[in-house]
């Protein structure tokens, strides 16, 4: 059932194994035993390319890399992921029971596949999916997960922001299996090119379902995805109403080809959908340009955008904390300045 290329890859991997006695003799031999499982996300038979960041993190660790994907009709997803350079194997479990990623059955599925593969590192994105699933798996294997890492210092030492990004902690794990969720903006998604991993069926424990997926309501938008957009315009409480938010911010976003974000105040006031929230408890973004409109710049908000390349701010309060981090600030009434900016960007 495996392709010739895949078999060759497997043979290469076998022949590269060190002789048994050297395992105990040097740390470089230990390094060779490092093996990572990158958990990939898919939906309706389409690979979530953002989740390929997990492979990038695995590449930084070194050692062998396997990818994992589960769901209904995922053959094409597995084959696409197999094209990522440096990945040795994609483990795929084709079963509709895993399609919605319900942690109750997805966690035991992962546990079985982790046990079978003998991995040292399990990596997933710090996304809604990863956040829901990974701690459950980690607990089942008695491991203390390391969440939302932004850098890898060594195979057991990781860097992660705490206190809404106001402090950066370096932590060393003593667990045999290291569970890591990664901040997507800190690890670029691996490219789907240059690889020829084999695709293998994973173990399927076919456990009983204890929860049931009922429905979903996802915001549909033609604008770029907030988490990965190169430009983001974000509105705050200064927008005053949902109508004004839509009128002012959406037109500005379209004139820049930007994604739309919002502060928590704007979300709480009902001006924008919760899924647009940028900050400690919302999305963390790091675009080329982040334009904050009518946002004062509370630290919870800054935690979600302060790694942006260029920050611009428009606010009528010249003392707003946002101006302390903005590369360029304009003090003025946003209802006057933003439409003017939109017009000038359009005609440029």
């Amino acid at each position: 059932m495996f392709s010739v290329a895949a078999r060759r890859t497997a043979l290469r991997a076998t022949s590269a194994l060190p002789p048994a006695n050297s395992v105990f003799s040097s740390s470089s031999a230990l390094r060779r035993l490092l093996s990572s499982l990158a958990i990939l996300e898919q939906r309706d038979g389409k690979l979530n390319h953002g989740s390929l960041s997990a492979i990038t993190a695995a590449q930084k660790l070194g050692g062998t890399i396997h990818g994992f994907v589960a769901g209904e009709g995922i053959k094409a997803v597995a084959e696409e992921a197999a094209k990522v350079a440096g990945v040795e194997k994609i483990i795929a479990v084709d079963n509709a029971a895993y399609e919605k990623g319900l942690a109750e059955n997805y966690a035991p599925l992962l546990v079985e596949n982790i046990k079978k593969g003998g991995y040292t590192h399990i990596i997933a994105g710090h996304t809604a999916f990863g956040k829901n699933l990974m701690p459950r798996v980690a607990a089942l294997l008695d491991s203390q997960q390391i969440s939302d890492i932004t850098a890898i210092e060594s195979e057991n030492t990781f860097v992660r922001p705490i206190y809404a990004g106001n402090a950066i902690a370096t932590v060393e794990s003593s667990d045999a299996i290291k569970f890591i969720t990664i901040r997507g903006t800190a690890f670029a998604a691996a490219e789907v090119a240059g690889g020829s991993a084999m695709v293998e069926d994973g173990v399927d424990p076919k456990g009983e379902l204890t929860s049931e997926w009922v429905s979903e309501d996802l915001a549909k938008s033609d604008r770029p995805d907030l988490a990965t957009a190169s430009k983001v315009v974000s509105g705050g409480r200064g927008l005053k109403s949902k109508e004004e938010f839509d009128r002012v911010m959406l037109t500005l976003a379209d004139s820049l080809g930007a994604a739309v974000g919002a502060s928590r105040a704007a979300v709480d006031s009902g001006y924008a959908d919760n899924s647009l929230q940028v900050g400690q408890t919302g999305k963390v973004v790091a675009p080329q340009l982040y334009m904050a409109v009518g946002i004062s710049g509370a630290i919870q908000h800054l935690a979600g955008m302060k790694d942006s390349k260029v920050i611009a701010a428009i606010n009528k309060d010249g003392d707003a904390p946002i101006f302390q981090v903005a590369d360029v600030g304009l003090v003025g009434d946003l209802f006057e300045k933003v439409p003017e900016l939109t017009e000038k960007l359009k005609s440029a």
Partner: protein, 269 residues
């Protein structure tokens, strides 16, 4: 339907906003890294209940008040592991409507990792015969977002994380709407289960003065980790904690044209 015995784990953390209402973006307490670079300076810094935990208590009290669960609410017990000062947040929780509290005393500075907290909570669930645990989705100090999921895994219970709506149905069924990337998702599970709260779930009430007085008389049980058969085993060693590189503001411009030309100069347009 079984009567609900709700366990609400809460955590005392550094207060971010001086004003409890997060919507007020006024004076902020900014955490500072200590000199030894081992953590964040906590002495003399205002602490309060983790904001997501307030949502957990509010939801539990609303389930009782609004009689949304067919079997009713038999008990709302709050639990916190921490130094003696953690009792302050337990009293606040009781002033908001929790019936009683358990304080698992842990020495100042002996913070528990999420896995250890989950193991402690598993023991507490057994002891208290809880059938619903409502936790915050994350604590705003460690930002780990793990404890609820770990607990659900250890108990083998269903979980619904980042809940923005909780509805009860017949036969112990619970319908939870969850915040996910790009929107919401609704899942259904049966009690016993674990739910973690997201910001949109509710707006926590303020404890009134009479309720604060009443809360002083509500039972607060003290325990130790060993009473619950758990050790504070740390798996992660903190190598160092530093402050992020400060970001310098680049100054202000006079008008929209100035803004555009500066953005062009910075290569952002």
């Amino acid at each position: 339907m079984s009567a609900l015995r709700i366990l609400v784990p809460i955590k005392r953390v550094i207060d971010y906003a001086v004003c409890v209402n997060w919507a007020f973006y006024g004076l902020m307490v900014k955490p500072r890294v200590n000199k030894a670079q081992t953590g964040v300076e906590t002495a003399g810094v205002k602490h309060s209940m983790n904001p997501f935990d307030e949502l957990s208590i509010e939801e539990s009290v609303r389930i009782r008040e609004k009689k949304t669960a067919p079997g009713g609410v038999e008990d709302i017990c709050v639990i916190s592991a921490g130094p003696p000062k953690a009792q302050d947040v337990l009293r606040t929780a009781m002033a908001m409507g929790a019936d009683r509290a358990i304080h698992v005393e842990v020495k100042e500075g002996d913070d528990l990792e999420p896995l250890a907290v989950a193991k402690m909570l598993r023991a507490a669930v057994d002891k208290e015969k809880s059938n619903l645990v409502i936790l915050g989705k994350q604590s705003i100090d460690d930002d780990a977002a793990q404890t609820g999921q770990m607990l659900a895994g250890l108990l083998g219970w269903p979980q619904a994380t980042q809940a923005s709506q909780v509805k009860f149905g017949e036969g112990d069924s619970v319908l939870v709407t969850k915040e996910v990337d790009g929107g919401v998702e609704t899942v259904k599970a049966k009690l016993p289960m674990v739910i973690t709260t997201d910001l949109r779930l509710n707006e926590p009430r303020y404890a009134s003065l009479p309720n604060i007085m009443k809360a002083k008389k509500k039972p607060l049980l003290k325990m130790s980790l060993s009473d619950l058969g758990v050790a504070n085993e740390r798996r992660l060693k903190i190598v160092k904690v530093i402050e992020p590189a400060p970001r310098q503001g680049g100054g202000k411009v006079e008008d929209v044209d100035g803004l555009i030309s500066k953005l062009k100069e910075l290569g952002a347009l």
